[in-house]
Amino acid sequence: MKKLINKPEDVVREELEGMALAFPDMIKVHFDPNFVYRADAPVKGKVAVISGGGSGHEPMHGGFVGVGMLDAACPGQVFTSPTPDQMLEATKMVDGGAGVLHIVKNYSGDIMNFEMAADMARSEGIRVLSVIIDDDVAVKDSLYTQGRRGVGTTVLAEKICGAAAEKGYDLKKLADLCRKVNINGRSMGMALTPCTVPMAGKPTFTLGEDEMEIGIGIHGEPGRERMKLKTADEITEMLALSIIEDPPYRRTMREWDEAKEEWVDVTLEDPPFKAGDQVLAFVNSMGGTPVIELPIVYRKLHQVCEKKGLKIVRNLIGPYITSLEMQGCSITLLKMDDELIKLWDAPVKTPGLRWGM
């Protein structure tokens, strides 16, 4: 294992220390329990937005803390969900009195830990709503699995909800917005090479010299198909068509009902893409992909969208939700409307995403 690290068990703590030293104007870092939070938290009267998950996907989530995006992020060990005390302490730290939105990726670990944290925070008198992101079309059924994984759309939801919170959306409206982003965003990824979790010391999976994995998850979860290497154009077309032609997806998720004061099952359905839709196109690097290759993927994605009648009105290209040094990419398409475009364009100032300020 070749890595720029010291001891494997110190990776997350040392990364957080480095972030704190590098970006003191944007973020602060709390240790034991670990979380990253806005340097100016709590922002009074503003709904706070929190996310979190296993480390190894940087800049997500810690790199997205700052004005116009997250108020706090809770990093677990590499590829391991954080623990509820992290989310609880982060929630208490950033609550500005208007409640806290938890943006949770759909992994059993994340769901359970965030659920416990939300229960604890509510028992301490803080309003918390949670919205789950499950956008990975590589997972086809929700009946026999945990359902679709949360991937690229998470980054977009964090940016958009962060901007909305900044503009004064209340907690209810913000949760609705987040749900809207989730059902309108879909992703699929692929890997050319695996990655190695520092504590494990060996690759999470192996691929032959001429093989790739299509539909891979961000922890190296198996995808739809392992197949012979193809060209960038063919790969991009496969990913893009899987997303664009994905049929309506229906699943039941547990959400907190503030009126009933209990967790209730909510059924949601993704509306399919259709010609004429305006979209945000997000080409994400898995972390180890040469920068030069991303525009090559974007180029073909643009062509496929055009052919399918989708108009790309915004884009994002780069390593934003990564899997350590994995080579490969994922594509996310998010159907946009005027509200989402305005929120996307709003200023953001975080270590990992910045414009307008």
Partner: protein, 212 residues
């Protein structure tokens, strides 16, 4: 002979040692159908329990178990943390205030643990999880006690059932947790969580046998 809080504390110490010894084994199982960390997770969690124990050594069994559950929740993460954490916390609630536990108390604690895992994991038997070891164990113990068995006899039945339940996960298709993404490919592998649950139940039985 009732179970004392000292027994509970001894169990936690020995469980920590046992899981430390089985760290590689459990991780190996998890690497086949999960993310190769279940042994590392359980070891980290139980080492954290050991650190917390001194603060509750003179407390009731409920407090000791709840504190252990909280230690798991706050140190393990992933799916294993909230599941085992909830199990221990619920078990603790079931025996809150008690300094001595009867066989019926033990059954109540195990049953509460099972319900806790099902609630937290939104899961049921047959989905290739730890529930497939715990659920038959609880049933076996209940049936044995109803038939007038001793604590040891009931635990021995529970262990046999847990082992069988654990082995039954091998041909199952996973429907919960990471393994579920493997679909058909999860068949043929023993579930790591069911294995750690079996190991914990077996340890209880071993201790009861020694105390005879």
């Amino acid at each position: 002979m009732p179970i004392t809080t000292d027994d509970v504390i001894e169990f936690l110490h020995r469980a920590a040692d046992m899981l430390h010894e089985n760290k590689e084994y459990l991780t190996e199982l998890d690497s086949a159908i999960g993310d190769a960390d279940h042994g590392i997770n359980m070891d980290r969690g139980f080492q954290t329990i050991l650190k917390k124990l001194p603060t509750v050594e003179d407390k009731d069994a409920g407090t000791i178990l709840k504190t252990s559950g909280m230690a798991l929740v706050s140190s393990v993460g992933g799916a294993g943390g909230p599941l085992y954490g909830t199990a221990f916390m619920q078990a603790g609630m079931a025996v809150a205030g008690k300094y001595e536990l009867t066989a019926e108390d033990l059954l109540a604690a195990l049953d509460a643990a099972l319900k806790g895992v099902m609630m937290r994991g939104k899961s049921k038997p047959g989905e290739k999880t730890m529930i497939d070891a715990i659920d038959p164990a609880v049933t076996a113990m209940r049936e044995a006690l109803e038939k007038g068995a001793t604590t040891l006899q009931a635990l021995e039945q529970a262990t046999i059932a847990a082992e069988q339940g654990m082995k039954n996960t091998i041909p199952m298709i996973a429907m919960k947790g990471r393994a579920s993404y493997l679909g058909e490919r999860s068949i043929g592998h023993q579930d790591p969580g069911a294995t750690s649950s079996y190991l914990l139940i077996r340890l209880m039985t071993e201790m009861a046998r020694e105390k005879q």
